[in-house]
Symmetry: C2
Subunit: 152 residues, 2 copies
């Protein structure tokens, strides 16, 4: 499958919210009402204005089939280095199991190299064994615990 990658635009938001809400966790925490919740618009503007954040839409034959967000972070550690975090990965339910995930991640890893990162990192819910196997297949190492603290 020949995929195309581009930065998300404001008029993609409805499509992206649908993608985000199209899984068990997303359904509970996203708002698919129309017109779209302005909180999404505000978040989109913050992402768009930040040169270290890239919200990427992946298309197959002009249809959005998946999305992900890359964040590039400068650190002093490792003698001064950039790190890339991958988050917000979603694949349209009609397009799962077709190798899109692997293509997306190879693209993202390449993008991190272009941005001079020495490390790519992500966290994956322990209740998603398929996702964990997927990342291991891509040579990611589960060397760390991924801790979260939800703020009230």
């Amino acid at each position: 499958m020949k995929l195309d990658y581009r930065n998300a635009q404001k008029n993609d938001l409805e499509t992206l919210i649908t993608l985000l809400s199209d899984d068990d966790l997303g359904r509970k925490r996203e708002d698919t009402s129309k017109p779209i919740n302005t909180s999404y618009l505000t978040a989109f503007e913050h992402i768009e204005q930040d040169p270290n954040n890239e919200l990427v839409v992946i298309e197959f034959q002009q249809q959005a089939v998946s999305m992900l967000q890359l964040t590039f972070i400068p650190y002093l550690t490792h003698t001064g280095s950039w790190r890339c975090i991958i988050e917000g990965v979603r694949i349209h339910s009609d397009f799962r199991g077709k190798g899109i995930g692997e293509q997306m991640f190879l693209w993202a890893i390449n993008r991190a190299k272009q941005r001079q990162c020495h490390l790519v990192q992500l966290t994956s819910d322990k209740q998603r064994p398929d996702a964990i196997r997927f990342y291991e297949k891509l040579s990611f190492i589960a060397s760390h615990e991924g801790f979260k603290l939800v703020l009230k």
Copy 2:
């Protein structure tokens, strides 16, 4: 202990590099030569210029005793939300075991709240059981695997 928090300045770099290199992992990957490696200066400038990154120096009686870096990331997920990542945490070896870690983290969590974050996250090496117990005590949940991929 009464601790003071402030953003790092260029003339803190020598002290911060010493802190970063003062552990088993850091010793292998940091460069403590003088004058300081210009890569640290470049990284510092990137951090300083980015309003979503805060490199924090913690002082006790005007002495730098610890450091951490906060990164605030805007996401579409959770109906548009900010998340805070904590990284690069180090405590001076003369000041460990005095409760500084807990104070620093409570401060960082509060800072994340000020920045409207709904979530604080971090990864901790599985080979550091003491750190893992520390984060659990602070109510962090190890719900995720922390995957890393080192780029060549």
